[in-house]
């Protein structure tokens, strides 16, 4: 026979875990962006976020509901980045100093200004702006990112010089940035 008190306890635990997962899910794009900002050009950024997720899950009992989940998650990510650097015997922050790292961390914890950080549909604005690109332009970006190919490799695929391709990627990303800022401005007006 099932003890009804145990059932009640289990239901509460389930609800707490569901809430925890929901919070984690909502923060994925922001965590990825945060680690990517701390480690520019580092291909293992996604691995570090994955480790961060695992740590967050393991330590979920430590998190007190009602406190700042975002700040807690970013502090875990911050230490994961440090651990990753230490393991690779890179004791310095690539080129960032502590002041800059603090400034970046505070921006991500406090602002939550980016649409991608707030929207449940992660990177919504980026997705929207990508959709506006011409097919040929989008293909350049997709090859650059999806295949993880270097500019040199892409230049061979497209039969274009590296300088030309680098400039194309530069212009496309600058355009995406402007488009995203425009969407955010619009969102501010709506809010």
């Amino acid at each position: 026979m099932v003890d009804p008190r145990n059932e009640l306890t289990n239901e509460k635990a389930d609800a707490a875990e569901a809430a925890f997962v929901s919070q984690m899910n909502a923060l994925q794009s922001a965590l990825l962006t945060y680690v990517n900002t701390l480690l520019p050009g580092e291909p293992e950024v996604a691995d570090i976020v994955q480790n961060t997720n695992i740590i967050l899950w393991k330590k979920r009992a430590d998190f007190e509901p009602g406190t700042n989940f975002r700040a807690w998650a970013f502090s875990v990510a911050y230490w994961e980045v440090r651990t990753w650097l230490t393991n690779r015997r890179r004791k310095s922050w690539l080129v960032f100093d502590e002041d800059l790292v603090t400034a970046i961390t505070e921006r991500f914890i406090n602002s939550g200004s980016s649409h991608s950080q707030r929207s449940p549909d992660s990177f919504y604005s980026l997705r929207h702006c990508l959709a506006k690109l011409r097919d040929a332009d989008r293909l350049v970006l997709l090859n650059h990112y999806q295949q993880g190919k270097s500019i040199a490799e892409c230049s061979r695929i497209f039969g274009r010089s590296q300088d030309s391709l680098r400039m194309a990627v530069f212009r496309l990303r600058a355009g995406l940035r402007r488009c995203i800022k425009s969407n955010l401005a619009l969102e501010r007006v709506h809010s």
């Binding site: 100093d97 030309s164 401005a185």
Partner: protein
């Protein structure tokens, strides 16, 4: 370092594409300038987003799956949480599919079409390497409308009619910079937040229909026709206000927003079929008021008063319908219209008849003119008849103030003639202003001379239409009241905001001649 240069550096930094020294330089830049810091964070976010959306080497979907597996092993009682994670993963898959669907349907940000005889140039500084379609603009594209009208349709549903001369740049998909021009905007609900920026004002739409006027040497204006807009002065005091329908503001040089009468009629809300024009046919005279018609936004509000002791006696049979007979003894038409301003291209067409021996005086009145009466710079527009000193015959001419033009065909022969006087718009550098005269449908060679004040300091044409030196359009009378009034018959006066093509000139001439 220019913004473009440090943006390029920041992107290369995000890509890990810089050597150690360059990295130090970029970090110093990021630390020293908060705006650069922000831009760096934005590029890092785009980079992260691209990796996320394209499912790069280790995407988050895989991470979610791994997490889900770990969750399963923990306890069966957590099945609900696992289900949530799986659902989250499904959402990501779904959104990726949506993204792929969206990318196949990417329309241009902005398309346009123009009225006939519109002259425009487009400069693309697009972020893609491909040039947009001929009828489309991309973010960064700049359009300069020398004359005519353009209708814009934004992907967001915003529609806009711009009357040239105009200079505009598409800043973002929902943001336009209007450095010059008169524009009407209709913004549907789904596009609320659309922005227009002039050199002096920023307008944010809050669900509305509004007009913006930005002209060099004049205060920018915003007129709200429906709904509301948020208006901010970009100068000095930077005053802000929310404007409702029926309200208008003009901004002065210290950033103060002043009330002005809302003028819905000042804006074109449909693309006209031809160049904006103003017509006085002289057919309809009520009391001393003459009817003014045309497609130009100002046309319906222009007041044209025949100044004469016996107005009705001035009306005679003309080339088409009635004409006005000026006797050279004090009759003329005074309007309240300031005229085409600055270096706006323009064409003035009319029929005229001058009796032999008319105008024996040494000074000659204008057929039509406006602007400043000063002659040491090009601040006026006057179409007139000047006497040839050699044989005393009257010759048609154009005076811009300092630069004068005339053709050598005498016209004081007692017959009807058709004249079209044209100013071609801004010239290159400091070259002589370009003007043309068409007499009876034929282009005539022009002779040039300077006005009584001699060569000007600048050849630039800046017809004055505001301020203490501005004189509104008069017909049959010069800007200088010491000059006598016109002694001639006039008919079918038409003013076009732009250079009309030769075909139109011929049609105007043939239409009158056929009657």
């Amino acid at each position: 370092m220019k913004p473009r240069e440090y943006e390029l550096l920041l992107q290369r930094f995000v890509d890990g594409d810089l050597d150690e020294d360059a990295c130090r330089e970029v970090v110093a830049l990021i630390k020293s300038d908060p705006s650069v810091f922000e831009i760096y964070c934005e590029y890092a976010e785009i980079d992260a987003g691209m990796r996320y959306l394209t499912g790069g080497p280790a995407n988050l979907l895989e991470q979610q799956t791994a997490l889900t597996e770990q969750s399963r092993q923990t306890t069966l009682k957590r099945a609900k949480g696992v289900a949530l994670l799986a659902a989250a993963a499904a959402i990501i898959v779904l959104s990726t599919v949506l993204y792929l669907r969206l990318i196949a349907e990417a329309p241009p940000v902005l398309t346009f079409r123009s009225s006939s005889d519109t002259r425009l140039t487009i400069t693309h500084t697009v972020e893609s390497e491909e040039t947009p379609e001929p009828d489309a603009l991309a973010v960064g594209s700049r359009m300069m409308v020398k004359q005519g009208c353009v209708e814009f349709t934004f992907e967001s549903g915003v529609s806009c009619i711009v009357k040239g001369p105009a200079d505009l740049t598409l800043l973002e998909e929902n943001s336009l910079r209007l450095d010059r021009g008169s524009s009407w905007f209709h913004v549907p609900t789904k596009a609320v937040g659309f922005q227009v920026q002039t050199p002096e004002l920023e307008v944010v739409d809050l669900g509305t229909e509004f007009g913006v006027i930005s002209q060099p040497d004049e205060n920018d204006e915003v007129h709200v026709l429906k709904g509301r807009v948020a208006l901010t002065a970009l100068l000095g005091r930077k005053e802000e206000v929310i404007l409702e329908a029926g309200q208008a503001r003009t901004v002065n040089f210290v950033g103060r927003l002043s009330q002005t009468a809302v003028r819905p009629e000042a804006f074109l809300t449909e693309l006209p079929s031809s160049l904006p024009s103003i017509s006085i046919s002289f057919d309809d005279l009520v009391g001393d008021q003459l009817s003014v018609t045309g497609s130009h936004p100002d046309a319906t509000s222009i007041e044209a008063r025949l100044v004469s002791s016996t107005p009705a006696s001035c009306v005679i049979p003309g080339v088409v319908g009635n004409a006005i007979a000026f006797n050279g003894k004090g009759d003329w038409i005074q309007t309240d219209w300031p005229g085409f301003s600055g270096d706006t291209p323009r064409s003035v067409a009319f029929w005229f008849r001058i009796p032999p021996g008319a105008h024996s005086a040494s000074h000659f009145p204008a057929v039509v003119g406006w602007g400043s009466l000063e002659n040491h710079y090009n601040g006026k527009w006057k179409v007139w008849f000047t006497r040839n000193n050699d044989d005393g015959e009257l010759l048609p001419g154009i005076s811009l103030g300092a630069d004068d033009y005339f053709c050598e065909t005498p016209v004081d022969d007692g017959h009807w003639h058709h004249l079209v006087a044209i100013f071609n718009g801004p010239a290159i550098a400091d070259e002589m202003p370009e003007c043309s005269l068409y007499l009876d449908g034929t282009s005539r060679p022009l002779l040039h001379h300077f006005g009584p004040e001699g060569p000007p300091a600048s050849r630039e044409v800046q017809t004055v239409t505001s301020g203490p030196h501005a004189n509104p359009m008069a017909i049959g009378f010069g800007l200088d009241t010491k000059v006598p009034t016109l002694q001639a018959d006039l008919d079918e006066l038409q003013l076009f905001e732009g250079v009309i093509p030769e075909q139109t000139i011929l049609e105007l001439y043939e239409m009158g001649r056929a009657r």
